[in-house]
């Protein structure tokens, strides 16, 4: 309490600096991506004009967040979480369909996407639950509750449909692992994903064969340890079963467009004009940048509007084309720096609530950063999730701003805790 007037001293200016640099570079690139002859600053008909307003409102939000008592977030996390869940559920009744997904509320000419705000709400709720002294992650009972907190919003988001936004919730696994979740879950997750991709590239027969060979090798190497043969057989059976079921799901449950997106990235299909157009044009834009880029507003791919959704999800391709290898590496560096900084500050937290929340922030930013840029560079299937602080959109910008600045506020407040 005694340091209340001193928040400007205790605050982590590095994170704020990186935040503003990212937002500013993001706005420059949105300006370029949506630039047309005769564009002027502040044109509300253009995305860059609206983004200016969003940025202005963000600053207002930041002041508000930093002004609110830090305890507020912990006390009201459940309320915030519930409001968030309700707003997500309300979409089924009042939602507006924009480009195929019912993810928006529309107020006049203005839309809000509640899934962008659900992330920080979930992070708060998770932090709150985990920080309870009674909670023990090793107990299945508690673990199921934790999973429920995490996956409830995701389950509501998936059928909107917005699988990309739902995928982000997998980020919380990193948080749980940090807080003592058995590595088996991560291992299972990774092996599952590896098996999934391998199954798509090769066929299930081949996978079964490889799995069998590996199982036998491990078995004979560890013969002395006297593992139960049954365990090996069970794991092997699981792998083979998974491989066949993945094949079945892929062929029969997935829609063609999903299959196409996977096939494009895996190189099983080459189609730069149709389903692979986005990825191909985005790669061309990035490749066009060279060492130093074409210069701001000079990118031919960007000016010609060849990359669809360039000012939103594909904004990084503008960076690639106009700022080149140096510019885009710098942006990658900024993201890495920001996430590492958040992680570092989170580790320093004495309060478990702040630490878990901070870890959640870092994990969410990381998953967005990973999936978005991998997608723009053509190594991940097309999934519609934005690049934090960068992509055009008020909800996205505000959602990430709140997410980050609540942590900054918590971080600034850590001295008050014991």
């Amino acid at each position: 309490m005694r340091n209340k007037g001193n928040i400007l001293v205790r605050i982590d200016w590095l994170m704020i600096l990186i935040y503003f640099v990212l937002v500013f570079i993001g706005w420059l690139n949105i300006y370029s991506a949506s630039y047309t002859e005769g564009s002027t600053l502040g044109m509300m008909s253009q995305p860059h004009g609206r983004q200016q307003v969003f940025i202005g409102l963000s600053i207002f939000l930041i002041i508000l967040i930093l002004a609110i008592e830090a305890k507020f977030y912990e006390r009201f996390s459940s309320v915030i979480y519930l409001v968030s869940l309700l707003s997500l559920a309300g979409l089924f009744l009042f939602g507006k369909n924009i480009s195929g997904a019912t993810s928006w509320y529309s107020f006049g000419g203005f839309s809000i996407q509640p899934s962008e705000f659900a992330k920080f709400a979930t992070a708060l709720a998770l932090a709150k639950f985990m920080s309870d002294t009674q909670t023990n992650i090793k107990l299945l009972n508690h673990l199921l509750k934790i999973f429920a907190i995490i996956f409830l919003p995701a389950l509501i988001i998936i059928p909107q449909p917005d699988p990309g936004s739902a995928m982000v919730y997998a980020a919380f696994f990193f948080v749980l692992y940090r807080e003592g979740l058995s590595p088996i879950y991560l291992l299972l997750g990774f092996s599952g994903a590896t098996l999934f991709v391998l199954t798509l590239v090769l066929d299930p027969m081949m996978i079964s064969l490889i799995c069998t060979v590996i199982a036998l090798l491990i078995y004979f190497k560890n013969r002395k340890k006297k593992h139960s043969k049954l365990l090996y057989v069970a794991i092997l059976g699981l792998c083979i079963g998974l491989s066949y079921s993945v094949n079945y799901i892929f062929e029969n449950v997935f829609e063609q467009r999903h299959r196409d997106r996977f096939n494009i990235v895996l190189g099983k299909e080459v189609d730069t004009k149709g389903i692979g157009y986005n990825t191909a044009q985005s790669e061309i834009a990035i490749g066009n940048g060279g060492w130093t880029g074409k210069g701001w507003l000079q990118g031919t791919q960007t000016k010609g509007g060849f990359v669809p959704e360039q000012h939103t999800d594909y904004i990084f391709s503008t960076v690639g084309e106009e700022w080149g290898f140096l510019g885009s590496s710098f942006v990658v560096f900024l993201f890495v720096a920001l996430i590492l900084r958040v992680l570092h500050r989170a580790d320093l937290q004495k309060s478990k609530f702040s630490r878990v929340y901070g870890y959640s922030v870092a994990a969410i930013l990381f998953v967005h950063f990973l999936i978005n840029i991998a997608m723009v560079m053509g190594v991940f299937p097309t999934v519609g999730i934005p690049l934090p602080f960068f992509s055009y959109g008020g909800s996205g910008l505000w959602g990430f701003t709140i997410l980050l600045f609540i942590f900054i506020k918590l971080d600034a407040n850590r001295i008050n805790e014991w």
Binding site: F174, G287, F325, V336, L340
Partner: protein, 626 residues
Amino acid sequence: MRNALLYLLVIITGLLFVGRLFYLQVIDDSFKLQSESNAYKRMRVYPERGHVYDRNQQLLVANQPSYDLMVIPRKVKPFDTLQLCDLLAIDKERLIKQLKKARHYSPRLPSPVVAQMSKIEYASLQEKIRKFPGFYIQKRSARDYQTTIGANVLGYIAEVTPQKVKNKPYYQSGDLYGKSGVEKSYEKILRGKKGVKYLQKDKFNRDIGSYKNGTLDTLPENGKDITITIDAVLQQYGEELMANKRGGIIAIEPSTGEILSLVSAPSYNPALLVGRQRSRNFTKLYLDSIAKPLFDRSLQGQYAPGSPFKLLNALIALEEGVIDENTKVTCRHGLHYGARKPFGCHCPSGTSNNLNKAIFASCNAYFGKTYLNILNKYPNASIGVQKWSKHAKSFGLGNYLNNDLSVGNKGRIPDSAYYNGAYGKNRLRSTYIISNSIGQGEVETTPIQLANMTAAIANRGFYYTPHIVKNIKGGTLPKKFTTKRVTTISPEHFEPVIQGMFDVYEKNGGTGYYARIKGIEICGKTGTSEVYGKIDGVRTQLDDHSVFVAFAPKDNPKIAIAVFVEHGFWGSRWAAPIASLMIEKYLRGTISRKDLEVRMLNGSLQHVYDSFISGEPFKINRNRPR
């Protein structure tokens, strides 16, 4: 240790991303190329085609704006089809067909609906075009003929063929290029140089401004104006004189080789090949296999020259020394030379002709005998014919003139090789080919070669290659047109021959006596060349061609002319009067002999031409019953 995982993952991800960026942006070049093919469009900027002037700086060919109605199908909204059809003067089916074609080509890119509209059509359409969204008017440049004459000289421009585009990378589909006449010969000078403009494109292939602020653009270089040697007044007069006749008139200025007029009849109005009706008109001209208006008779027509060729044989005989001015030959209504039939002539039996009279009265017997003497001077006729052929070829006969006219024909001056082929090696006897002596037999010339031969005689032994270009603005004339070409005949031998040509007009009994002009000393020679054609597959003798060559004045000649009138019965009937009128027109500017002029202008041989295809029997060289 558990907190290290995410740190590691973040750092590894960052490094992988930088690596991938390095690959995409620095190592792999293919993306750069792809972005270039995405990003800009090369547009040709068309220069103004050069103008064409006549020798007196009268403008013959200029440019006019022509207007294409273009459509971008995607932007079309429902409109009043009836009104648009009215404005364009097309029917609804055609409009619908054109729109369908345009949509098929591209919904986003412009396609023409109606091409080459005139200013007048444009004016009425332009006021209403706003009522038709998706349509707009594209301005282009078309030829604007300031004259109705000289179609064969001026030529025309047409859209390039796919073949041409393939062979000549300068052109691209839709370009216009000179396809005949001056437009073809001086295509490179007239067309100028296209400029290039780079336009930045967006994903719909629409233009969104200049690429790299126009730093790569080049300005078009306008075509150069050229002045041609044609005298438009004389050309027009020649075309009027040839109305309803077929044939050609070539007038050359002997002192320079400049072609003053190049008439081919029948011809057409060059403006027919511009504008909306172009392709219909061209098809009509192209398919006219009877009158052949696109066939330039003065350049491509290959005829037996007839009697004017006697002049050349006289010169060769003098040069070879087988005759002199006073050598006399007695004509017995022909020449008896050992064949079954005498070599026929129109002279009364027992006339004794010297060179002068042989020329002005056109005695066949004299030249038949003389020709045999030339050939027999040598051990065998093959050598003789080779010598003779060489002399004849020095007058520009028997081969292309190698000038700047886009079409031409070699003609034929037979040599020993030719006859070795026909009769076997050295089996030729001089008497076999006696017909060459009077310009029949194997000898064939084009009217322009005949005119050039006349010019060489007028010059007393040399000529300049006949050419059509007088002056290129900012350019120089090719050297080949300013190089004197000397014949193998010594200058002193020309005088007696020229005197004979002079007497064609001046002496009673001369074949051009009735065509003489008071005060102008004309030297000429009539010709009547026999001609055979196929009618229903049967070789049939047709009416003789009427031929005349002349130059004037006798000393310091200003004009040499050859006139060819197909099936004009005989030389003095059509060709000689026409030649004399042309000479008078050129030298004096006015015509004194009005009745002759009227007769020539109104005279028609159409009924003769019609009789060949009528299927009815006819008698040659007689007036047909009309």
